[in-house]
């Protein structure tokens, strides 16, 4: 057997693996792979680790990356996002002295909204803005003290009604916390730092569009209709064609009842209940509620698929999850 193995193969097969796609490791565009750094302190160092260290900059003995501009939150109501100003290795705060050629020029942003875009690759993601303390105070007093209708306040501040409601609600919680003395100086400091780290809401620049309605799913499909040449055909006719209510009606619902008003069908069932009259010697009163068989309890013989993957769950008032009987 051994002798047989020792013989060289008669026909040599050369296997060439088919290369369809050369996977390039995700090196940053501003640098090439470069040399593989020597191990440091007995620990192997990779190219990516080296590049990351270069990006992060020096760390002092307190663990602070004092030289990296992204390590710090802004405190002048502006953002500190990675954008074209600081791309391509321009992340250092102290670069002016260390690099020859002196200070690098900050490339200006092309439009003011760019400041609100955290991810340069995705221009659709935009950060929200912070409502200033003064504006919040004024807004809350207009709603709570002066009792102005929400719609009027919404139009004045160019802010959706839901946001105004939320601001008022959070203000009430803040007042309650303050009364109870639950707000510690540390929490104040945290809130202050976060408050200053975001741009402030300016109704002119960041005002919300108050005429937004959810896109009805019906309009995502094509429909065709034949009408006479002289027959007028406008948006309301189109709505009829789709079997939808006019957009103005939808907008009214959205502004008055909130967006969820459209999706929520009236599911709250009112069950008939009565309390049976008590007789002498009864210690408890019996309350009877009309329910449909199958809706309550477990009906014998009904398939009960508790091992199903997409079982429905609901939460009771105590926040406990329970499987919904179907």
């Amino acid at each position: 057997m051994l002798a047989f193995r020792a013989q060289p193969p008669k026909a040599q097969v050369v296997r060439v693996s088919q290369v369809r796609y050369n996977r390039v490791l995700a090196y940053p565009s501003y640098t090439t792979k470069g040399y593989i750094p020597p191990s440091r302190g007995g620990r192997k160092q990779t190219v990516f680790k080296k590049l990351m260290d270069e990006f992060l900059g020096h760390k002092n003995y307190k663990g602070q990356y004092y030289d990296n501009r992204f390590a710090f939150l802004k405190q002048n109501h502006s953002t500190n996002y990675i954008d074209r100003r600081f791309a391509e290795g321009k992340t250092k705060l102290f670069a002016e002295q260390s690099e020859e050629g002196g200070a690098y020029e900050e490339r200006p942003l092309s439009e003011p909204k760019d400041q609100l875009r955290p991810f340069s690759l995705n221009r659709f993601t935009v950060t929200n803005t912070m409502v200033s303390k003064d504006m919040k105070k004024q807004l809350v007093s207009e709603v709570l003290d002066e009792g102005k209708p929400l719609l009027e306040v919404a139009v004045k501040y160019k802010m959706k009604i839901q946001r105004i409601e939320a601001l008022v609600k959070l203000h009430q919680i803040e007042m309650q916390y303050q009364e109870e003395g639950k707000i510690t100086p540390t929490m104040e400091k945290f809130a202050d730092v976060m408050y200053k780290a975001f741009p402030l809401f300016d109704p002119e620049a960041h005002g919300e569009n108050l005429t937004e309605i959810p896109i009805p799913s019906e309009t995502l499909h094509s429909r065709f209709v034949t009408i006479a040449e002289s027959e007028p055909f406008g948006p309301v006719d189109a709505a009829k064609e789709f079997g939808l209510e006019p957009a103005a009606e939808t907008l009214r619902k959205v502004t008055e009842e909130g967006e969820h008003a459209l999706s929520v069908t009236n599911n709250t069932k009112v069950h008939k209940t009565f309390v049976a009259p008590m007789h002498e010697g009864d210690r408890v009163a019996y309350k009877f509620t009309d329910v449909k068989v199958g809706e309550v309890g477990y009906r014998y013989g009904k398939p009960y698929r508790d091992n199903r993957k997409d079982r429905k769950y609901a939460f009771d008032n105590a926040g406990k999850m329970y499987p919904v009987l179907e």
């Binding site: 710090f72 955290p118 959070l170 803040e174």
Partner: protein
């Protein structure tokens, strides 16, 4: 995505994917890998596919046409992951109450998160609009705050700090001015560099600095003043007057004394000068003689008795009195001057240096370990580094952790109160023109689109790459997705064959109910079947024995065969598809008594965008399945007369088509059916055996 430096670097170096050099599958795979790693990576794939909702939420802006601007694109594809945003764990992370979704999960599982005041322990709890959720403030401070150092870490830092401090004090003591200036310029530079940034290590700002310095300076100034005031006596004042007058060449007048005594006291000085001007011992002798003379005028008193020689005449008494008056005025002036006068830099530096004290040596690590604590008293830090309050789970005094700035994005659908660590979930995130309401996705829309496709997986792989371009060219969505629901069937669509319409579905469902109610066995024939939808939906009924369907289009017949295969589980009747040209009166040999048809019924003259037909329909749907008029109804009536037909239902679009049918079949009872949108939709005819069809009619012809 956690808020940490590793993610930041990966995000920083990330570039848009090179879709151009990738095959379609690579694009999908790559996008799926990246976007899933970012959105809900803690959710297993199977679970995610269950969660995924096909319907993506977007909003339309009603004033878009009024603004007159070009409407921005609505990034619907970015909504792919919107369903995840309802989850409590994701919402807690978005509200910046946790540094990652996984941390948010931990907080929830530990019972630190409340929704509407009730502690919820399910990370998947679905939030609904209007819900208020809150996180225990200590947890939030921990999540967004610097990491709490261990005792050893704190000790290491403090040991280094103390060493640096001792060195600094040594340097300052040896060369105060230089160190002072270095320190000042260094602090100035720091303040300049970290302008507008929150750096907890930054020395207090210039203003606070000045205030602190000023206070310490005041103290030294008061001491200095005390010394100065003690040194002033009547004797020194008189000496000063004499010396000043001596120094003047020529006439002496009041203005001579102004520099030292001020304008207010100059006259008094001059009076005194005039009183003593004749005293030669004062003015002509040397300094000793002058001092002797002065002590004669103003002798020292011991126990109320003047010492040595002294003048006791009225003149000397007058001089004494004048000097006493002058002294009180002069002391007042000196005090005032001293207050206004700034101390010299040297004075500041010397007080600064005198206050620098070396820190006592820190105990050894083993001692610290035993005790569990040590004392620090540095000018800027009065307790252990980061362990001011060791009971807290975060660095104390609190400071934000590093590298959260690039990730700090305020969500649009959640309103946050950082003071109380509460937030309101206002609505589910939506896409609007030019903006995706949340999706904090860092990926471009193209990548999200690829992920969306990965999920939908409704097309054969070979067609993926053209799908998006196709839709951009107005190809109906059903052709791209490849299928359309029809009743409880899924009907496959292909270009060249008419897409089943809702209108057809509506009357088919109605007819199905009628047939199943009557319960008698029936046989159905259908002309112009297209995708086979009508015939197949009839074949799902238990009492339909056989369905024969015909079409002129062979492509349609192939598709209908395929649809039969797809839906074979639901089909109960025998189904046959045949080729047949209606206009050439090619009729099948059948015993069926019910004829159904959805022939082409849009007149040629209406088949244009002006006629109300959508562009995508004009461009991509088969013309021969749509355009036609009375000729088809004539042919169908011919078939009715020839065959064993006893009932029929035809779809149509115009009243004249119904009337035409009735005129060709005078012996039949015919009716018209309107659809739910009150448009004329069907003509129905029957003989007594199919009387049940009458219930579908809205109007009898």
């Amino acid at each position: 995505m956690a808020l940490n430096k590793h993610n930041l670097f990966n995000f920083y170096k990330d570039r848009a994917p090179m879709f151009k050099v990738m095959s379609m599958f690579m694009q999908k795979w790559d996008s799926k890998q990246k976007t899933r790693g970012y959105h809900g990576e803690h959710i297993p794939e199977g679970r995610w596919l269950k969660l995924f909702q096909k319907k993506l939420d977007g909003v339309a802006q009603m004033d878009a046409s009024l603004s007159g601007k070009a409407n921005d694109e609505t990034p619907m594809v970015l909504q792919t992951f919107a369903v995840l945003e309802k989850r409590l764990d994701v919402a807690v992370f978005r509200a910046m109450f946790a540094s990652s979704v996984r941390q948010a999960r931990q907080f929830i599982l530990a019972g630190e998160v409340k929704v509407n005041g009730v502690s919820i322990k399910q990370p998947s709890y679905p939030l609904s609009p209007g819900d208020v959720f809150s996180v225990e403030p200590d947890r939030v401070l921990q999540a967004l705050g610097e990491k709490k150092p261990s005792l050893k870490e704190a000790y290491k830092v403090d040991r280094e700090q103390v060493i640096q401090w001792q060195k600094f004090v040594n340097r300052a003591k040896s060369d105060p001015l230089k160190v002072w200036q270095n320190q000042r310029s260094k602090q100035k530079k720091m303040r300049e560099t970290y302008r507008d940034l929150y750096n907890p290590e930054l020395p207090p700002s210039e203003l606070e600095d000045v205030v602190a310095r000023y206070d310490s300076r005041q103290e030294s100034k008061i001491n200095e003043l005390g010394k100065k005031l003690n040194s002033i006596t009547r004797n020194t004042i008189l000496a000063d007057i004499v010396n000043t007058a001596k120094a003047v060449e020529g006439e002496v007048n009041a203005s001579v004394f102004e520099p030292q005594f001020g304008a207010a006291l100059a006259n008094k000085c001059f009076n005194i000068y005039q009183m003593v001007a004749n005293n030669k011992a004062l003015f002509e002798g040397g300094e000793n003689e002058m001092n002797e003379e002065i002590s004669k005028i103003l002798p020292k008193y011991v126990n109320g008795q003047p010492q040595g020689k002294f003048y006791d005449d009225t003149k000397a008494k007058k001089v004494k009195q004048a000097l006493s008056e002058l002294k009180s005025g002069y002391l007042e002036k000196v005090r005032k001057d001293h207050k206004e006068q700034a101390p010299s830099e040297d004075a500041i530096v010397s007080t600064w240096v005198s206050r620098l004290i070396k820190h006592p040596k820190l105990p050894s690590w083993s001692e610290v370990q035993e005790k569990g604590a040590y004392k620090v008293d540095l000018p800027w830090q009065k307790s252990m580094w980061g362990l001011e309050d060791p009971s807290k789970p975060y660095f104390t005094p609190w400071r934000p952790r590093q590298f959260i700035a690039p990730f700090a994005v305020l969500p649009k659908h959640i309103e946050i109160s950082f003071r109380t660590c509460h937030a309101v979930y206002m609505r589910n995130p939506v896409a609007r023109p030019g903006e995706s309401e949340l999706l904090k996705s860092k990926f471009p829309a193209s990548q999200a689109a690829q992920e969306l496709r990965w999920i939908q997986q409704e097309l054969p792989k070979s067609q993926w790459h053209t799908a998006v371009e196709l839709r951009a060219r107005l190809v109906p969505l059903q052709y791209i997705l490849g299928s359309q629901p029809f009743g409880d069937l899924t009907i496959k669509c292909k270009p060249g064959v008419l897409i089943p319409r809702n209108d057809t579905e509506e009357w088919c469902e109605e007819l199905k109910q009628i047939i199943s109610k009557c319960g008698e066995p029936a046989e159905v024939v259908e002309y112009c079947t297209g995708s086979g939808c009508i015939g197949l939906s009839m074949a799902t009924l238990a009492n339909v024995k056989k369905v024969t369907a015909l079409d002129i289009n062979k492509q349609a017949l192939a598709l209908s065969e395929e649809n039969l295969r797809i839906n074979s589980a639901k089909i109960k009747a025998k189904v046959e598809f045949h080729y047949g040209d209606l206009l050439k009166h090619q009729f099948p040999k059948t015993t069926a008594t019910l004829l159904l048809s959805n022939p082409p019924y849009i007149p040629r003259e209406h088949f244009s965008t002006d006629g109300g037909v959508e562009e995508s329909v004009l461009k991509y749907e088969p013309e021969n399945a749509l355009v036609g008029n009375l000729e088809f109804y004539s042919a169908l009536c011919e078939l009715v007369r020839q065959g064993p037909i006893e009932g029929f239902v035809f779809e149509l679009g115009y009243r004249e088509q119904a009337e035409h049918t009735k005129s060709l079949l005078p012996s039949w009872t015919c009716g018209i059916r309107y659809d739910s949108r009150r448009n004329i939709r069907n003509v129905i005819g029957w003989k007594p055996s199919w009387n049940i069809l009458q219930s579908m009619c809205d109007e009898i012809l």
